[in-house]
Symmetry: D2
Subunit: 148 residues, 4 copies
């Protein structure tokens, strides 16, 4: 994992620990690629088990990837005694998701006391070439003293 320049190591450790407990991330065979303050990247491989009838990754699976990236990005800027919750999100699908692996990128646009707004992207990587396949606009919520 690349070193996060300015991130509190405690925060990075908390996110790595939360990520480990996410059964859904194991289901996607996903790994945490980057943690910076307000930005998180998660990678998952192509897997036939995630596909629709046409052989592309299911829109909901791509959403699972990028929702997690956005959630952790929001979480990276929250106080220690808090948890994060997806209030809602909206995703546009731009291109068929063809690739050997997929990158979910979540970035904080505005971090408020209660509400954090994030912007997310899914990139499909094929032969080293990245294609933007989906974009997300998400609303996350700080849950005080709900951090496990």
């Amino acid at each position: 994992m690349p070193a996060a320049q300015t991130l509190n190591p405690m925060v990075e450790a908390r996110i790595a620990s939360k990520f480990e407990k996410q059964q859904a991330m194991k289901l996607l065979d996903a790994r945490l690629l980057l943690v910076k303050p307000g930005e998180v990247e998660i990678e998952m491989p192509f897997n036939m088990a995630f596909t629709q009838q046409n052989g592309y990754i299911h829109a909901g699976i791509l959403t699972t990837l990028v929702d997690s990236a956005c959630g952790y990005a929001a979480y990276s800027l929250m106080p220690p005694n808090c948890g994060v919750l997806s209030v809602e999100f909206k995703v546009n699908f731009l291109s068929p998701a063809l690739g050997e692996k997929y990158l979910g990128v979540g970035k904080v646009i505005k971090a408020g006391r209660t509400i954090t707004v994030c912007s997310g992207e899914v990139l499909a990587v094929k032969n080293g070439i990245e294609t933007l396949v989906a974009i997300m606009q998400a609303t996350m919520m700080t849950m005080v003293e709900r951090n496990e």
Copy 2:
């Protein structure tokens, strides 16, 4: 599966066939519960493998369930030589998703030649009691002669 009163049996057979080919539906251990013209219900069981760090079903997994229900609902009203594609969707999460099983319900609000707008719900079922845990508003697209 309940009999669909007015649905062309051909359409029901096509949806069942498409559903069988969806690896992502197998991943969720999902089954097609109801097919009516413009309405589809899909059920999935609770599974620890689908959860977040707090033990609730991941928002993206619930999205996968209800996106499929909306997609098939849209597809049920499309001409035979067409496929369906998720253009975009938006989901609000209302309550923690606690239940033994989950019901994804997709309904067509407006079926156009190119664009079909759907409304979706996710219900968590616990001890026979249904709780609305998420709502979706989705835009589906008719892909002419893309039906496999």
Copy 3:
């Protein structure tokens, strides 16, 4: 205005008072048609000044109408010392908005302590016939002690 059966008259008066202070509602020549607990209807006339280049009402003007209906619907279930804020919304446009008048209907789907989720509709009324022209899914927020 039809009598609201179970609504606290204080709440109806508060909403009517808030509505009066909304300059944007005056701009649309809008009037409050119905206030029930968790449901509000607002009506506006057709006006060339609200149209796009093709003579239909601008999507943003329809959004203004139904966002207000959803906001007041959320507000109708909030404690007295609170204000309401639109966190976000998503609107699908279903049909060209042709009519003599337009009805914005907002309904609360889930009222939480901080977050209220609403569902909205815009109906175009032409020769007494209502056509659904837009649907909204909105997230409203309770602002404690921000009520003016």
Copy 4:
């Protein structure tokens, strides 16, 4: 208006002409600030007539501004014999919209044959300082031979 480096002057003229016919843009006292291929900026002044009860610009009015910017941005990349239609959009409101004027910026993220996906921003300008107050994710549609 700044010169658009690579834009077909025909396109710029078509957008300016369409803008002139938009009654809703006159209502907002809006002016076209920038037209580039796939990017459009529109400006409107603060006006008490656009406000909510708390004195901020109504969420729907900001939406009208940025929806138009996104629509024209999509239109700038469409073939000559086409019109543009808002299929749907989603807007998050980040900060109270305080300013002397407001800038709606629309950018094309992906231009397809039928569907164009745009990203929009609303900036409030106060004493020369720009604050991001809203972000939009929008789906536009090409209407063939519907150009008036």
